[in-house]
Symmetry: C2
Subunit: 217 residues, 2 copies
DNA sequence: ATTGACGGACGTACACCGTACGTGCCACGC
DNA sequence: GCGTGGCACGTACGGTGTACGTCCGTCAAT
């Protein structure tokens, strides 16, 4: 007597749960079925195959982005907020992040963030082509940042101090690394992310100014 | 009569070859052994397990970066060159790129690029901590860019035009996407990469100016 | 020269994986 | 009453990573 009749959302939720608990490697159709107390092949009545299931996982995680867009705020603040929203879901589903960025999703799941971002950039005065370029640049930076974050803490396990690794390098061959061993081994991801984001925001801000000046001329 | 006696580099080379020919999904110990004309378990005399083999693949690919660093050039040009060198290996081993960025490598393989980059930034006048932050930002951007490039062309197969996908969205729900469908569906990766890199270079250039001014004050 | 140890190539075996296919149950429209 | 279609499920097949045991060539010590 299954209280709930095994639907696609339930399967996806179980998959996300499993990934967060035991990592992406632990995912198998048998394991998900066992967690749901269900036969393995029953899953295939709702999901065509494992790849599609993982796509659905990515889609679901991505659609969990919460936008608190304030149309009255400065456009730079809106850009900042949207970038942070992107990063926050990665903190909510840390183990799933690798799954999300690994599979390129050509579905409509990530479309709402794209729409919002483009609208913000257009309202800031950027042209269409330029807005797309800027958006792609931001996405690249965000994805790369998240990849490092989840890579360095794949299990949130004891972050075995890699400091020793950096201090063990040959000072003659790698003088800079040797001097900066402390800075290289520690990493405040939040501050790091904000630093890069601020640089990007200011870069496109000055680019907008130049564009406006050129228009006036 | 094995002409060459099956060494670890030979195994890694076979793995890279296989990945480039048939994609990362085709990699299996049995398949690699077959390509080498060798029994499966013989591989384990040189490689502890499959994960270590893939780590070695990442390490080997990464160590193939060619640096043509010109110490006399402007520091911005040196940064540009190093970023491009990073991207070029991804073009040389397109299918391996996902493997490289997927596994976080804490080995000494990627250390030389790090050393060069830090030296360049330090010589440009950046402080130690700031140089590390800037380097991390660049790496995030580059990794994110490469991930999009290899994601969009996982097999270099016919890039089934996703234009239709963008044009099919509801214009009422996604007006910006609808208007910019053409820009979103086409992507000149090279130009896109250069655009973002230029923005980053100029951003840190103005940051350096501000820092210098503050020092003078 | 004989022997012993040893490293590497290999086959077998096991647990697990994704999933194609067939079977049975149950709720429904006629 | 009777199809009929959807859904849960079991079985089975080909593939995977790898632990373990076996065999054999080489080389050091006796």
């Amino acid at each position: 007597m299954p209280a709930e009749p095994l639907s696609r959302p339930r399967i996806v939720a179980a998959a996300i749960d499993l990934i967060e608990r035991e990592g992406a490697d632990a995912v198998s159709m048998r394991r998900i079925a066992a967690d749901l107390g269900v036969g393995v092949m029953s899953l295939y009545n709702h999901v065509p195959n494992k790849a599609a299931l993982l796509d659905a996982v990515a889609e679901t995680v991505l659609s969990g982005i919460e936008f608190t867009d304030d149309p009255d705020a400065d456009w730079t603040d809106r850009v900042r907020m949207q970038a942070r929203a992107f990063r926050q879901i990665a903190h909510h589903y840390p183990r799933c992040t690798m799954v999300v960025v690994s599979r390129q999703l050509q579905s409509t799941a990530g479309l709402l963030p794209v729409e919002r971002a483009l609208a913000t950039l257009r309202s800031a005065g950027f042209g269409g082509e330029e807005a797309v370029r800027i958006l792609r640049m931001f996405i690249a930076y965000i994805v790369g940042s998240l990849l490092r974050e989840v890579g360095v803490t794949p299990t949130f396990a004891p972050v075995h101090n890699t400091q020793a690794d950096f201090e063990r390098v040959d000072p003659a061959l790698f003088p800079e690394i040797n001097v900066l061993a402390a800075e290289l081994s520690s990493c405040d991801h939040e501050a790091e992310f904000e630093f890069g984001m601020e640089l990007l925001v200011q870069a496109i801000a000055v680019r907008r100014e130049h564009g406006n000046e050129r228009e006036k001329k």
